[in-house]
Homo-oligomer: 315 residues x 2
């Protein structure tokens, strides 16, 4: 298995990306070969200094970088020698089995949609966030930002994608699916939630457990919680801010520390044909390590195949 | 000034309601006369025992109670001798200047809309929540639950209502208005947020400061944050759950304790003609006291007149 990693993406690249590679190679049992994409002149001394096993990685040179604030489509078109453009080229041509970047999120989305493309039958790919729970078992919430306006069918598909991710990556059997809502009873909610409820209820692919309220998010009520990306994004950022508040107030708590979402690494774009993982701009070493590990799990579990099979059957 | 209080509403009524009355009468400088609505046989011994100044209150007997799970419209129609029905009767007939209940929220909404009625020019009344901030100055977020689906014009009106509430009750001069959104820049967001932004920006009544993200909610970016009631309700319940998490984990922090939203008392229904305040079902003494105090502030500041004036000018 070959995992492509953009070494130039993120606020602390390439130093933290190199740290992440080192952490991965030294702590994870794996036969993955890492394909490190970045400026060779910058990377070489850092990689030598890190003293890595040279048989475990190779470097693909990229002479350009897409900045965090560049226009995604324009940048991808004009900077074909950028680490992100090369990463997608390698992924599209099966030279790598997954591609990871903590760089320009928009460019990652555009690259994924236009090169590896959306899986047939899926209307909209989605991104999720881990939901840390007090019992130690992580749940997920999706969509958290790329689909601000959704139709009921989109939420149904997010539920299927989240369910498969939860089964194959988080190893939860028959994950319980909850619909984020403003009340417990069927019939509650805005028009979208009202119309989505029966779709989730009737789906034979899902273990739907009903509505889940804001107060239930971190409880053990559902393993996969679906909502449109507007509310999901607000929730994610709000939860991150709680972590920030506790830090500023010198509160140290093992569970609340799990609200440091940056530490998780990144989120896969669920619904595209190959594993693509988008990292937080401020990713540090452990986050890069976690993203490489996630890519490995996505490849090993054949998650993309399971998703393709699932959407073929639904149609 | 006469303030009507439903003594039978809420999970801990009438005991906690009596405690709240006592707290108010003994700790707040006020010439308000309290009109306590409830079952006289139940209330009399409790009130005597509390040793209150009898000149400061009177009791209006009600023989029925609307349960927390009763259908609002049906219950109000069939239980005309209930404390909530009597409260609205008194308010409508100017026998009291404000009405407070921690009982059936739906019945309170229906009562407000059908007796004291929506102020002319306002499309939808709204409810808000206090947003505690680290600098000690409270902001507000609205709508938090009665308007799950909104149009841009609704959000504009919520902003005006929130701005007036913030000025006259929270005593913030020229409150900064923020639009809850998924990004900082104009043009971000779902269709609703995109269409609302220019309305807020162009309003001469508002000090609009732009988009506010989930992570900014508890920061000092805006004093009034507007959103539709679906996201607002999820946020409110999520913030409450963080308080619960910290309690379960034995974290005591003066600021985080302010996320105990129950302690604030209740929320006024903004946009109806008279002060109506809805309390949390599990309100205790201090919450009842705070609701009476809020009613007094709403009457003293002539908030309803300011709202009426403001909406006459907008039209």
């Amino acid at each position: 298995m070959r995992i492509g990693l953009d070494m130039m993406g993120g606020d602390f690249a390439p130093v933290e990306a190199v740290k992440g590679v080192k952490l991965f190679l030294e702590t994870v049992a794996s036969d993955a070969h890492l394909v490190l994409i970045g400026d060779e002149q910058v990377l070489s001394p850092l990689l030598s200094e890190a003293g890595l096993d040279q048989s475990r990685y190779s470097v693909v040179h990229s002479s350009q970088v897409i900045g965090m604030n560049e226009h995604p489509t324009k940048a991808l078109k004009e900077k074909q020698q950028s680490s992100i453009a090369i990463g997608f080229y390698l992924l599209h041509n099966k030279k790598v089995d997954a591609f990871i970047s903590a760089g320009n999120t928009g460019a990652m989305m555009v690259g994924a949609l236009y090169t590896v493309k959306t899986i047939e039958g899926i209307q909209r790919p989605t991104i999720s966030t881990i939901v840390p729970r007090e019992n130690g078992v992580n749940g997920i919430l999706l969509d958290v930002g790329i689909n601000a306006d959704c139709k009921p069918e989109n939420l149904l598909q997010f539920a299927v994608l989240g369910s498969l991710y939860s089964q194959h990556i988080l190893k939860i059997d028959s994950p319980r699916i909850g619909l984020l809502n403003v009340g417990e009873e069927e019939g509650k909610g805005n028009l979208l939630a009202q119309a989505t409820y029966p779709l989730l209820k009737e789906s034979t692919q899902l273990n739907f457990v009903g509505n889940v309220e804001g107060r239930d998010l971190f409880e053990d009520k559902a393993d996969v919680i679906v909502c449109e990306g507007f509310t999901g994004n607000v929730i994610l950022k709000l939860a991150e801010s709680f972590y920030g508040i506790t830090k500023r107030r010198n509160i140290r708590d093992e569970y609340i520390d799990k609200f440091n979402f940056e530490s998780y690494g990144g989120t896969p774009i669920l619904g595209v044909n190959e594993p693509v993982i988008i990292g937080h701009g401020i990713s540090e070493g452990p986050a890069f390590k976690n993203m490489i590990l996630l890519a490995q799990q996505m490849i090993e579990s054949k998650l993309m195949d399971k998703i393709r099979e699932s959407f073929v059957t639904v149609k």
